[in-house]
């Protein structure tokens, strides 16, 4: 029996796991997907919002501002690339300038530091590629960009290193509490028992919640489509550029990514399908039109891929974090839509403190807050890099040409816990296949490495999803052996 089972290995679940790993407790994270961060955490703007957007006094505002504050030290501890590049909310209509002041005031109420309202020329000086029609902008220097994959993986790895168990590819199908007060989680891999449960199930958080509570909640998958541009275009803007917000969200932003690409999106469309991460021609069209309202000359011919993600939009547009009234020892982290990524360290902190109290957990003496990231040989001096290659020749073997990723990095990604087991898992950890050829060259080579390292047959290697095999077996009726 576990002390805590966390349902969902997204950034929220992993942040909760990492914070809970400070305490003496048996903790398990389960997820229906084969890797951590396979839901909303892998398809979002990758922006750590400053916190001026959420309504003053809301939990969302509190978590965002606190999460933003925690993100710096957290990324330092976990060796996660993070940069405070600052955000600009751009006003393009004279009659909407009041809106900037409103945002500024809200930011002050929420505790956002360092904001400034810029006039037209100040804004253009800071960001020369802003639209001609810019009238002014709100500048928030604490806004940042991050790799959401690496953040989630780092939280999971650190949790793991501190004793948390991850059961991936394990889907929670039913949840109930027995007379003794023990929680039973029925999964497709058998039943798990726990004293407490954390519901961090993303777009499924309402489904899980509604299994245990009479106070029903409702989450709508809100689809957001994005365009990712080549690194050639990565310096088109240096800040994260927002339009003024509307009821549907923060609008289509344009931002550099931490890895030097440019990202444009998202759209906002409420859908039924909780797995509906398909893009649409209308959506992709909308992005191009909207993005051009704030930024001029966007080099859209440099698009290397498009994708869509789902935000877990709760009907009241508010985070639901805490113990469920009619379900003792069951804790919700529900409705975690934007700014969920920015809030994740704060959500992890809040939920772990609640659980610590409830279960009277004791701190571990040997808790290790640090995690070492995958070595990026490109950041080493030539001497250091050569030393590394002498020790581990795989670092001298380039597998992904576009992003110049070596076999050594891929092996590291596979050998970690939880490690990469799929092409997408490798891609998200070390960027092999993330570049301009989009895995055309490296996918057969990465398959070979996965086959060799994990001893899985080629026909069982997947792109990501369980049934996402790459090949259907061998050609020919007779097979030979390897030399």
């Amino acid at each position: 029996m576990f002390d805590v089972i966390i349902i969902g290995a997204g950034v929220t679940g992993c942040a909760a796991a990492r914070e809970l790993s400070r305490y003496q407790a048996e903790i398990c994270v389960i997820d229906k997907c084969e890797d951590v961060g396979e839901g909303t955490s892998k398809a979002n703007s990758a922006v750590i919002h400053a916190g001026f957007d959420a309504p003053a006094g809301s939990l969302m505002a509190e978590m965002n501002v606190r999460g933003n504050e925690l993100m710096g030290p957290l990324c330092e501890e976990l060796d996660v690339p993070f940069k405070r590049n600052g955000a600009l909310v751009v006003c393009v209509r004279k009659d909407a300038l009041d809106g900037l002041q409103e945002l500024y005031d809200r930011g002050i109420a929420n505790g956002v530091k360092g904001m400034k309202i810029l006039n037209r020329s100040e804004a253009l000086q800071m960001e020369p590629n802003l639209s001609e029609s810019v009238q002014g902008a709100l500048y928030a220097p604490s806004s940042g960009i991050i790799c959401p994959f690496i953040l989630t993986e780092a939280l999971a790895e650190n949790a793991c290193a501190n004793g948390v168990e991850f059961r991936l590819g394990t889907k929670a199908e039913n949840v109930f509490r027995d007379e003794q007060g023990i929680w039973h989680i029925g999964t497709d891999k058998g039943e798990l028992l726990s004293r407490a449960v954390v519901n961090a199930a993303g777009v499924y958080a309402d489904v899980i919640h509604n299994m245990v509570s009479e106070n029903k909640i409702h989450i709508t998958p809100r689809r957001g489509e994005y365009l990712l541009l080549d690194k050639d275009a990565g310096t088109h803007v240096s800040h994260t550029i927002f339009p003024q917000p509307t009821k549907l969200g923060k609008g289509v932003l344009v931002t550099p990514t931490i890895h030097g690409n440019l990202i444009v999106g998202p759209t906002a469309q409420d859908i039924e399908d909780r797995e509906g991460i398909n893009t649409s021609s209308e959506g992709l069209q909308t992005i191009t039109v909207k993005a051009n309202e704030q930024v001029r000359n966007l080099p859209l011919r440099k698009v290397i891929t498009s994708f869509a993600g789902l935000r877990a939009h709760e009907d009241h547009h508010e985070f639901i974090i805490g113990e469920v009234k009619d379900a003792p020892y069951f804790f919700d982290c529900a409705g975690i839509e934007s700014p969920g990524l920015a809030s994740s360290p704060a959500i992890g902190e809040k939920i772990s403190l609640l659980i610590k109290e409830k279960l009277s957990l004791q701190e571990k003496k040997d808790w290790n807050p640090r995690r070492k990231g995958i070595t990026d040989p490109r950041k080493l001096t030539m001497e250091k890099r050569n030393e590394l290659i002498r020790k581990e020749p795989a670092y001298g073997n380039i597998i992904c040409r576009c992003e110049s990723v070596s076999e050594g990095e891929i092996l590291d990604a596979i050998r970690r816990t939880p490690g990469a087991r799929t092409l997408d898992g490798v891609k998200r950890r070390v960027r092999a296949g993330m570049g301009r050829c989009q895995a055309g060259f490296c996918s057969p080579k990465v398959m070979e490495i996965l086959h060799r390292e994990l001893d899985i047959p080629y026909e069982e290697i997947t792109k990501g999803g369980k049934d996402g095999v790459i090949v259907f077996g061998r050609t020919k009726n007779v097979q030979g052996g390897e030399a």
């Binding site: 990712l228 040409r401 576009c402 110049s404 050829c437 055309g440 057969p444 999803g465 996402g468 259907f472």
Partner: protein, 422 residues
């Protein structure tokens, strides 16, 4: 620092031919850097025949064509390093490369020949809506899986793009037991050879749908269906023309892009049309001593022309290191211009003083022309006028300029190639 007179980036057909011709011109110290485990480049996976008709007067398969060159490179004892990735080329021709055994090495080259080839346009660049499951391959990736690794990437296949690789893969997948349901082509014509349309599609009753594109991809983990639709003259899908094909695989054969990341780092100027370096008639880029040939310069349709062009780059690089051209250069090179239906020319300039006696100027047209004329103008005067029954964007065209004629012409500033109705 290691020194070589000529360093060639890439050991495919271009790199091999460049090395051999540089050796023939008397250069001893040549090094080929190849990122793959063997020489031959993309030819190793092009196991179909049809290569070498111009060069060897016989039809060879890709590996056989490559072997003819590899054998000679080995016989000539030209040095090459395999599994070696070039990380950077500097303006002063220092090549930084890396492999497992030596780590990072730096090589000072007297001249550099770029022969990195090209890559396929990925799905993202095509903006095809839908899911992003497994089962979407560029045709070349599928070709590698089937022909080299021996794995079947799909059983029920839809192909987008009727370039030659797409057509060839339609036949390969069919012969290996897959059901190729349809080939959709965005343009109103195929970019592939007629022979491939007949022998790769018609032979197996695979329909080719011109002016069609993919408008939706279904399947969360693996492709389960693909919808194609007809497009109008602006290449926009026409509502109501959608046809849905259940399938597990979508192959993309939607064009090739020269791979010029290294060139950009070296400060080499690229053409927005070819995506390759802007070169002189000697195939020299704007950086002195750096030459380019093959598909990194512009995408060819026949490997024979790659070999021919690469041989020229080899000769030019040899001249450069032997320092035999410098004095003869004219002050102002003649500019080659592509107009009225001609998309680009390679080379981009010609120096009548130093050019070889005959210069083949390669070009491609932007649309299909029937019974039209290829005209060449010296300044504003038409000097050549050749009738062509057909000109198509899929086929590389050539005109030949004579050194003698260029030298004779007073105050020659531009040579323009145009397509004219009469």
């Amino acid at each position: 620092m290691i020194n070589y007179e000529i360093v060639i980036i890439g050991g495919g057909p271009a790199g091999l031919a460049a090395a051999l011709s540089a050796r023939k011109a008397g250069v001893e110290n040549i090094l080929i850097l190849e990122r793959d485990a063997e020489l031959g480049g993309i030819l190793n996976q092009c196991i179909h025949n049809g290569f070498g008709l111009h060069t060897f007067k016989e039809e060879l398969t890709g590996p056989e064509y490559a072997w003819r060159f590899i054998e000679r490179v080995q016989k000539e004892n030209i040095a090459y390093r395999l599994n070696t990735m070039v990380l950077n080329i500097s303006k002063d021709r220092i090549v930084t490369a890396m492999n497992r055994d030596e780590g990072i090495i730096q090589i000072q080259a007297g001249a550099v020949i770029l022969a990195m080839g090209c890559r396929e346009r990925p799905r993202g660049a095509l903006n095809i809506p839908g899911f992003r499951p497994a089962g979407i391959f560029s045709a070349g990736t599928a070709q590698r899986l089937v022909n080299i690794e021996g794995y079947m990437p799909g059983k029920e296949v839809v192909i987008l793009g009727s370039g030659d690789i797409g057509l060839i893969m339609a036949r390969r997948m069919t012969l290996e037991g897959a059901d190729v349901k349809v080939v959709a082509e965005l343009m109103p014509y195929s970019g592939g050879l007629k022979r491939n349309i007949v022998q790769c599609l018609d032979d197996f009753n695979i329909p080719l749908k011109l002016s069609h594109t993919v408008v939706d991809i279904e399947g969360k983990d693996r492709v389960t269906a693909v919808t194609i639709a007809e497009v109008d003259e602006n290449r926009k899908p026409v509502p109501g023309t959608e046809e849905r094909y259940t399938c597990d695989t979508l192959l993309l054969s939607c064009g090739l892009i020269p791979e010029n990341e290294l060139s950009v780092n070296a400060g080499i100027e690229l053409s927005r049309i070819t995506n390759g370096p802007v070169v002189t008639d000697r195939l020299e880029t704007n950086i002195p001593g750096i030459f380019a040939c093959g598909n990194v310069l512009h995408v060819h349709d026949l490997v024979d022309f790659v070999s021919e062009e690469a041989a020229k780059a080899g000769r030019s690089a040899a001249e450069f290191v032997q320092n035999s051209t410098a004095e003869k250069q004219s002050s102002e090179p003649v500019v080659l211009k592509a107009e009225s239906g001609v998309r680009y020319t390679v080379p981009f300039t010609v120096d009548p003083g130093t050019m070889e006696d005959l210069l083949k100027v390669c070009f491609r047209v932007g649309a299909v022309f029937r019974d039209a004329y290829v005209s060449v103008y010296f300044n504003d005067e038409r000097v050549m006028h050749m009738k062509k029954r057909i000109l198509s964007p899929g086929e590389m065209e050539q005109v030949i300029l004579q050194k003698k004629k260029l030298l004779e012409y007073d105050d020659l500033k531009t040579v323009t190639i145009r397509i004219e109705a009469e």
